[in-house]
């Protein structure tokens, strides 16, 4: 099985740089606004897109993404809107995945969810609250639909467990840079590099780092040791802090351009 996401990492590795992975919740700031954000991601240098499935009880997210999820849910976002956003992203030629808490997948149907990812040309799914120990039915569904299953590992994950979790990952391994929830922070945790080094010892699957990455400097720092740099809350802050959708989109574009430079500077 090879997905557009897997091919992307071959390309960025051959270019000796990290991939820029951008997150936006489906339906945020509005359904149309989300598509405009995806267009800017595609035009301004994002390498892969994560479409968030907004969820009522997001325990791994900080206030920024919680509020964005609420906005989107209040506007009626459901599975249909998530797959619409995914289809829009993949139609722009950008390898794309969905990031979702587990219950919406169960409710939709495990097999059916994997099939809908595939039929919308998605590369895979990130499941932040599905430990590999509970993931057998999901792994089977992903294999049948030929999509990537991406699990999250944390600084607290033991070496023994890293081996077990990364063996179940395809596409990339999502390394949480710190113990905590999502959200922009002033600096990158020193634990992030240690974690990536430990992961690299047990797997050849590319490793992308998320949680707290928000600036070109952060991207440059992470790109020095990781295969991918994941940015989420910073885009939401750019949109929520703007006085119109147009100015929000402009701010997102400016941020993407900076981050795209950052992921190319790390190995200089």
């Amino acid at each position: 099985m090879t997905t557009p996401l897997a091919q992307l990492f071959k390309k960025t590795q051959s270019e000796n740089r990290a991939a820029l992975i951008a997150y936006i919740p489906a339906g945020y700031p509005t359904q149309e606004g989300c598509k405009a954000v995806i267009d800017v991601f595609a035009d301004a240098g994002v390498d892969a897109i994560e479409i968030g499935f907004p969820y009522s009880d997001p325990v791994m997210d900080g206030p920024t993404i919680q509020e964005a999820a609420n906005t989107s849910l209040n506007a009626g976002t459901g599975a249909k809107e998530v797959f619409d956003a995914l289809a829009h992203a993949t139609s722009r030629g950008v390898p794309s995945v969905v990031m979702t808490y587990w219950n919406p997948v169960e409710k939709y149907g495990v097999q059916e969810f994997a099939e809908s990812i595939s039929s919308n040309s998605g590369s895979g799914v990130i499941t932040p609250d599905l430990p590999v120990d509970e993931a057998q039915p999901w792994k089977t569904a992903c294999a049948e639909s030929e999509i990537n299953s991406i699990f999250v590992v944390a600084p607290s994950t033991t070496d023994q467990r890293l081996e077990k979790v990364t063996a179940q990952c395809s596409g990339f391994v999502y390394a949480a840079s710190l113990m905590g929830v999502t959200g922009a922070r002033s600096g990158i945790s020193s634990g992030a590099k240690d974690l990536v080094d430990r992961i690299k010892k047990v797997t050849d699957t590319p490793v992308a780092v998320g949680l707290g990455v928000s600036t070109r400097e952060h991207a440059k720092e992470v790109a020095a040791y990781a295969d991918g740099v994941i940015v989420g809350s910073a885009f939401i802050n750019a949109l929520s802090g703007a006085d119109s959708l147009d100015s929000g989109i402009k701010a997102v574009r400016a941020l993407v351009e900076q981050l795209a430079l950052g992921v190319r500077e790390g190995r200089g």
């Binding site: 009880d57 325990v59 849910l73 169960e106 149907g109 057998q136 607290s156």
Partner: protein
């Protein structure tokens, strides 16, 4: 629906048939493993068990007594009604049983800080109490709505030295307090134990909390046998997350002729959609780290629950209850706000006991089941908490000027 191990029995630790398990961020797996190991070791350690038994005897007031409610029974078809008096425990409910156990574990594990979620405030008060007793820093997360509904308990927690953090996200109630406590735990897992208040959440919480609550049923079984010479025909308890119910049910599960009946919060009526009757009116899914029944919409988003009782106002339920329901060993019914408040008032006036509004749901169930089974039946009811905290709510409900 899910294609997961639905039709086969899952025998891994922490799984109850298709229910239970661990659906949490990877960052918490290590802490849950550590907690599970500590709990398993403690349950086999005579020193730990002796220390906990000593606290029960000299601090929280165990064994709790049983009271036969003869005047109340006249309204329940003449069936014999026996109340297990968890309301007489220190801090006023069964919640202390669990927190003494978990706080002792935290102390043994060298943790200096504990966090807790609370709805009605009873678990928060119990946690603040245990933390004060054992010299631990305590932070309690409580939905902003609940801090208003239960301001007396907020003051109690503060008097006991705990920090109370009002949660302003989502529906601002218990489910959001749990989310916020989980986020705290993910961030501070090295220094902190999460004192979870009910038999829900990721493994090992449903098993651990049950182990600390099952003393209720062990005592009550022996006490009823001594009083009546036989086992009760039915055991009844209210069910929010389900800790007092599992506590009194567990020792009777082996007694196949004893009916186990859980009373859920029916709010305005299950048919109205404004209720918290998770097993009666919900569907299987994953919330707060475990698979169980929950109130959810067609996209798997949690739906807000409604109940006059803050302690039952929760859209999930413990996975072991979901399992006991599915295999037919326990039955679950919904009691409306109005039925619960009628039973609340009746117990006050016939027995001189003001129950918690949560507990009043079990009493309303006793009125129903007593009439169904008739005067030869004996019913054991878990009187899980006292109603001091509910005086304002009840006064408003009954139009008593304050």
């Amino acid at each position: 629906m899910s294609t997961s191990s639905k039709d086969q029995i899952d025998t891994r630790a922490g799984h109850f048939g298709q229910f239970g398990g661990r659906y949490v961020p990877e960052a918490l797996i290590g802490a849950l493993d550590e907690l599970e190991a500590a709990h398993n070791a403690a349950q086999k350690d005579p020193e730990f068990l002796a220390e906990l038994a000593h606290l029960h005897k000299t601090y929280s007031g165990r064994p709790s007594i049983i009271t036969e409610a003869k005047r109340f029974a006249e309204h329940a078809g003449g069936a014999r009604i026996i109340l297990k008096r968890e309301d007489l425990n220190h801090t006023g409910s069964h919640k202390i049983n669990n927190v003494l156990g978990q706080a002792l574990l935290a102390k043994r594990s060298g943790k200096k800080r504990v966090i807790a979620e609370t709805g009605a405030g009873q678990h928060g008060v119990a946690s603040a109490t245990a933390a004060a007793l054992m010299g631990l820093e305590c932070v309690v997360y409580m939905g902003e709505e609940d801090t208003k509904r239960q301001s007396l308990n907020v003051a109690r927690m503060k008097l006991l030295g705990a920090e109370v953090i009002p949660v302003t996200t989502g529906s601002k109630t218990l489910k959001d307090a749990i989310n916020e406590a989980m986020r705290d735990w993910v961030t501070n897992v090295d220094s902190t134990n999460y004192l979870f208040g009910t038999v829900a959440g990721p493994h090992p919480f449903p098993t651990m909390v049950r182990d600390f609550q099952k003393i209720i049923g062990e005592e009550a079984r022996a006490q009823v046998l001594e009083l009546t010479g036989k086992l009760p025909d039915a055991v009844l308890a209210c069910v929010g997350g389900g800790s007092n119910a599992i506590g009194i049910f567990y020792d009777f599960i082996k007694d196949k002729d004893v009916r186990l009946i859980g009373l859920e919060a029916g709010g305005d009526g299950v048919e109205t959609g404004r209720h918290a009757a998770t097993i009666t009116g919900g569907t299987p899914g994953v919330l707060h780290g475990a698979r169980s029944y929950l109130l959810q919409d067609e996209n798997g988003q949690t739906v807000e629950s409604h109940s006059i009782s803050a302690g039952l106002d929760y859209p999930g339920v413990g996975p072991e209850h979901a399992y006991l329901s599915d295999i037919g060993r326990a039955e679950y019914r919904a009691i409306t706000d109005a039925e619960a408040m009628y039973a609340f008032s009746l117990l006050c006036k016939t027995e001189g006991i003001i129950p918690a509004i949560e507990t009043a749901h079990a009493l309303a169930g006793a009125l129903q089941v007593g009439r169904e089974l008739g005067k030869d039946a004996t019913l054991l009811i878990n009187l899980s908490g006292r109603g001091d905290k509910d005086v304002v709510t009840a006064a408003e409900y009954f139009g008593i000027p304050l």
